[in-house]
Symmetry: C2
Subunit: 412 residues, 2 copies
Amino acid sequence: MSEKQELTLEQQKEVDRQLEVLKRGVVEIVPEEDLRKKIEKSILTGKPLKIKLGLDPTAPDIHIGHTVVINKLRQFQDFGHTVQLLMGDFTARVGDPTGKSETRKQLTEENVLENAKTYVQQYGKILDMSKTELHYNSKWLSSLNFSDVVNLAATMTVARMLERDDFSKRYTNNQPISIHEFFYPLMQGYDSVALECDIELGGTDQKFNLLMGRHLQKEYNKPQQVAIMTPLLEGLDGVNKMSKSLGNYIGIDEEPNQIYGKAMSIPDELMLKYFELTTPISVEEIKELEEGIQSGAVHPRDAKMKLARTLVELYHDGQAAEQAEAHFKTVFQQRALPTDIPEADWTGEAEVKIVDLIAELGLVPSKGEGRRMVQQGAVKIDEQKIEDLNQEISVASGMIIQVGKRKFAKIK
Amino acid sequence: MSEKQELTLEQQKEVDRQLEVLKRGVVEIVPEEDLRKKIEKSILTGKPLKIKLGLDPTAPDIHIGHTVVINKLRQFQDFGHTVQLLMGDFTARVGDPTGKSETRKQLTEENVLENAKTYVQQYGKILDMSKTELHYNSKWLSSLNFSDVVNLAATMTVARMLERDDFSKRYTNNQPISIHEFFYPLMQGYDSVALECDIELGGTDQKFNLLMGRHLQKEYNKPQQVAIMTPLLEGLDGVNKMSKSLGNYIGIDEEPNQIYGKAMSIPDELMLKYFELTTPISVEEIKELEEGIQSGAVHPRDAKMKLARTLVELYHDGQAAEQAEAHFKTVFQQRALPTDIPEADWTGEAEVKIVDLIAELGLVPSKGEGRRMVQQGAVKIDEQKIEDLNQEISVASGMIIQVGKRKFAKIK
């Protein structure tokens, strides 16, 4: 074993094949050369790599923003590597003793096990759970005593910890950081020591924590993991990271019609990114679509319908996808609510009478005409008829105003 | 018990008497009004107060700088209160995992027990050990698990911890602070929680740690201790805090002649402070001495001999004190080494020939005369004859140069 073994040409090709797939859509690999070395070694020895993903057991409602990284795990799994899902149950059971963090609220052991089941059910839609390891970090963290914790804390300096983006901002702004918060990244890093992971996946916002794993593995004399960072997916609003709390998400457990409808609402510019990161559609096919859209051969709406169909198929099945598409067409398209409603800036008062609103937006030629349209029941806001001329309308972003059959405006 | 009890006039007097003695020589009491309240309560209920002093089990060689605070403990003990000596054995057994701190080098359990014996033996010279409690903080700290530690750490913010003098300096100077170092003050504070102390004593340099005890007792819903800070005693050099590593100390286990001789070497200006902080001599008597010295009725040397005698008597006995004084007189005074050697600044080269040195210091009228004195064996450095004209002398602070019987200089 001490002699350096050479890869056969066949094996060399397999390494390249794996690397090509695994690097697709990834933002950063630290250090990149080690990923190749680890795959080479795995192929030489026949020993699968261990790929860790840390899970926060407090938020088991998975949306397609999460699937970016889960899809990457699936690729590793397809190459025969071992996926290690790590439930941070210890962290969740400790909670945040200061009670200031929502995501660190204290959970009971039952909560955690319940949430784990939900994870298994939801991750099972992408991963082969029969080949997936599920770990709980309470197994090793709860048996550390004070003296072990002192040793763990001794591996990091205060200054380096304060380099983490969020800490650094809070420290600079004189917002309190409790000392125990320093332990969350240390715990996460220590999990990599305990699991002896070869690779840890995470979003780009997890970089500090992923590198902590490398740092601690070195301190504890273990081989260091490679950190692979996947991009953060913007949500339906096209601006913010997809998240449940912002409401701009597509949950993988949602009904077919919901998934389909939400997918149709994403901005055109994001469509190709969604294809790349959230579907198994090949690079080549995505490229074709892109060229088709650019040349005008493919209507963006049709491309988006393909995306919506694919997502429903992924999390339900082909039949559900067809039905969702049919439903979308009848209810949405036939109701003549176009998918490309012009957007309008609203610079007037936040509370306004309906006639003033439609006149200001240019949906009617005059206020008199506006009054007439309202009285006829031809004015709708978000598909609700507005017939009371005196009703105060609270203008909000995303609101759709319709006058007659063909005039629309959507508030920016 | 719910009714507020009133102190009798007799009891009120006892409170005042205790306060007068306990506040003597103390730099700061936080909060001062609580000390009175605690004493009042103790007198009303007959329940002695618990007075904690934390000990570092790595340095068992006690010098009279340490006795400042031990004398204060003795006063509490004389009033019937309970002294709690706290051996920080847990801290010492963990050590400093980064290996950077000398005072935090790792000790075995045997080391600690050995050192504890030395403490008992040495503290026994001042305290009544039969009434003194000895505690080891491993008793409670070693049973804390990771989750307890997270709760402990959650009580403090990073910013407040970085306010501690030494941390703040190091952070500002970009010197690394390991995260585990934050635990030493937390451990010390937690000891006060475990011991339910009423009062903790320490030098003024311990203020942050003493207040940490108050802070943690509050967090853990215990009555808060009062912090009493005693002054730091300057060592024999009259400048730096007395410490073993600087060599400017008088050890309480030293031989009578050593204690006596070292006491005679302290600067006159410090004599009264030494009387106040290291001897049981009464305030009135010290005041008399001070006035005597000012009026010229008392020679400072005689006052200093009284101090030296008192210290030997304290740590040995009256007979040893007499013998040490007799020894000092014969060997030192009769050898005509005066106690008031004029001090000289040395601004020349650090390495110099003996003739150049004595000429420059004005101990001889000319270099020719200097050469003659050296050849006659009349020149001494620190009581060693210098007869080699070519010998390079390394001029050092405190060095005493003597020419003939009456000419002396001491390098500043």
